[in-house]
């Protein structure tokens, strides 16, 4: 029986294409990682194993500053995004659907629908006026912009978590004379927590990876790691970019694996 259902769903050539797709999907990334350990500075000719590009990249002051800035912005933005997303998710789930709810939903998901370049341009225009009026040039603009486009990524897993929640638990707590705050603190919050952590990680990764919006919003000397890399790639290719990419890749994979395990437990 199992054998039979396998054969009916098999379509000629599909498996071959799929395997090729998987190989081609990973080959370029694999090459990039492999050549970050190349002793020479070619990206195509292997000259022996070496770790030289990693310290070399790290000794570059510009890389160091960009890395720290990226982490700063991603941390602040993902915390803000997760905070407002958690509140919004609590406000838009666990009750009868209203028209207001879909408005909130559209507003929060808006960054997913607008091309990044358009958001980037709009923010450039908006912030340039604010910069003139207030004279403030700091990282606040980047954090605000990142927090805004990270919010939908934080919101979705939290909402999914809340929608799967048993409403009776809150009612039960109230029946047992728990105050609304106690109910929230001891019942709702622990249940939301895995969703919030998952959302925080997605928001962090999203912020860390952003190039386009950052490119438009940043003031002079505010390069993040991706915008620094973008500028470097256009100039020349040197293997230290491979080393930075590999580390960034590693961080993404670690966070994603954690996210995956965190959200899978439930289902």
């Amino acid at each position: 029986m199992a054998d039979r259902s396998f054969s009916i769903s098999r379509l000629p050539g599909f498996a071959t294409i799929a395997v090729i797709v998987f190989v081609l999907l990973y080959l370029p990334i694999a090459m990039l990682v492999i050549f970050s350990f190349n002793a020479g500075d070619s990206v195509a000719i292997w000259e022996g194993f070496s770790l030289r590009w990693y310290p070399e990249a790290w000794q570059n002051e510009a890389v160091k500053a960009a890395t720290l800035r990226s982490l700063q912005v991603a941390t602040a933005a993902s915390l803000i995004a997760t905070g407002v997303a958690t509140m919004a998710a609590l406000g838009t789930t666990r009750r009868r659907a209203t028209r207001g709810q879909s408005f909130v939903y559209v507003m929060i998901n808006q960054p997913l629908m607008v091309p990044e370049i358009v958001t980037g341009v709009a923010l450039l225009i908006f912030f340039s006026s604010i910069k003139v009026i207030t004279g403030y040039q700091g990282l606040g603009y980047l954090i605000l912009a990142h927090a805004a486009f990270c919010t939908p990524f934080a919101y979705l897993p939290i909402r999914a978590r809340l929608e799967g929640m048993d409403l009776a638990l809150e009612t039960a707590a109230a029946d047992l004379y728990a105050s609304p705050w106690q109910t929230f603190r001891h019942v709702t919050l622990p249940l939301v927590m895995p969703g919030a952590v998952a959302g925080l990680m997605l928001a962090f990764v999203t912020s860390l990876d952003d190039v386009v919006i950052t490119e438009f919003v940043k003031s002079a000397g505010q390069d993040t790691l991706p915008t620094y890399m973008l500028a470097q790639i256009r100039r020349s290719v040197s293997a230290d970019i491979n080393a930075i990419s590999t580390l960034l890749l590693l961080l993404t994979v670690v966070l994603l694996t954690a996210f995956f395990l965190l959200t899978r437990k439930r289902t």
Binding site: F14, P28, A44, R96, G100, V118, F126, P226, M229
Partner: protein, 304 residues
């Protein structure tokens, strides 16, 4: 809707708004609001050193497609702009089609594996999806550049005598976009195929349908919402792509995204940049409206 709400329900609604308020404010300041300001800017005069003069003008909108000859003042189509629009539309379309052609078999393959295998393969598709787009584009750059892996390999094997120039061509942008946006096609296709009832195939076989006929008349119509989702998800970012054409297309093979950026850099024509952004936004909105019509049309929302 018309029945008056009891106080408890009303309090609940108010609480909902209060809890959503911080997110709404953040998104209004950091995303939606600036779009409206951008629209205003598209109707202003360009400042000499960038930014704008606060004079109402339709020049930017006029310049989107038309141009006035600097010598004799005659009107004509802005060929350079039209070329860029055409290239963007063509590349985004080709990318979408090719992503579907290779994405569909991949999604089908994943959906027909055992559950544990399926989870693993989905994870493998998801990783590139979340991996920095810049890094993935850069990886492609390294493969196809003249002194890159592909050319070096082919030269070494004696298949070619000189490196094939692939970088900084439309072809490179097409390959790069297909590579970076493919997961966006595979994931919704998988979701649709996963819900597909394989017994329909059995029924089709019993009625002497060939595999091709099954694909054409049973599978594709049923998973259509997934096909539309995937196509929209690929087409929208591909049309507004900025990083991929910049790294793989070089200065001459601009797409709309790069052309918009140019207006805020060397071009010093913010209103034109704003107008072009509005055009892009409108195209994307139309695509999204078409999407909601088609993707949810089957669930009988047509009268609503």
């Amino acid at each position: 809707m018309s029945t008056p709400m009891d106080p408890k329900a009303r309090a609940e609604v108010r609480r909902g708004w209060l809890l959503s308020a911080p997110a709404l404010v953040l998104l209004a300041v950091g995303a939606s609001g600036p779009l409206l300001i951008m629209l205003v800017y598209s109707f202003l005069e360009a400042g000499q050193y960038g930014n704008v003069e606060w004079v109402i003008s339709f020049k930017a909108w006029f310049n989107v497609v038309m141009t006035r000859d600097i010598f004799d003042g005659t009107l004509g189509f802005a060929d350079a702009h039209l070329t860029i629009f055409w290239r963007s539309a063509k590349l985004a379309f080709l990318t979408t089609v090719f992503c579907f052609v290779v994405g569909f078999p991949t999604a089908w393959f994943i959906a027909t594996r055992t559950p544990s295998m399926r989870t693993a393969l989905l994870f493998l598709i998801t990783i590139p999806f979340w991996t920095n787009l810049l890094i993935r584009t850069f990886a492609i750059n390294q493969i196809i550049r003249n002194e890159g892996f592909l050319n070096t390999g082919l030269l070494y094997l004696g298949i070619i005598k000189e490196p094939i120039v692939m970088l900084y061509t439309d072809f490179a942008v097409f390959i790069g976009m297909t590579y970076v946006y493919l997961p966006l096609m595979v994931l919704p296709l998988f979701a649709a195929i996963d819900r597909f009832d394989m017994r329909l195939l059995q029924a089709g076989y019993d009625l002497y349908a060939s595999r091709w006929q099954l694909l054409r008349h049973v599978i594709v119509p049923v998973v259509k919402p997934g096909i539309i989702s995937g196509s929209i998800l690929v087409f929208i970012p591909a049309l507004g792509a900025y990083v991929t054409p910049r790294i793989l297309g070089g200065g001459r093979n601009m797409m709309i995204g790069n052309f918009i950026e140019l207006q805020f850099g060397q071009g010093r024509n913010w209103p034109l940049g704003a107008a072009l952004s509005v055009v892009l936004l409108v195209i994307v909105s139309v695509a999204l409206i078409v999407y909601t019509r088609f993707a949810t049309g089957g669930q009988d929302k047509s009268h609503g």
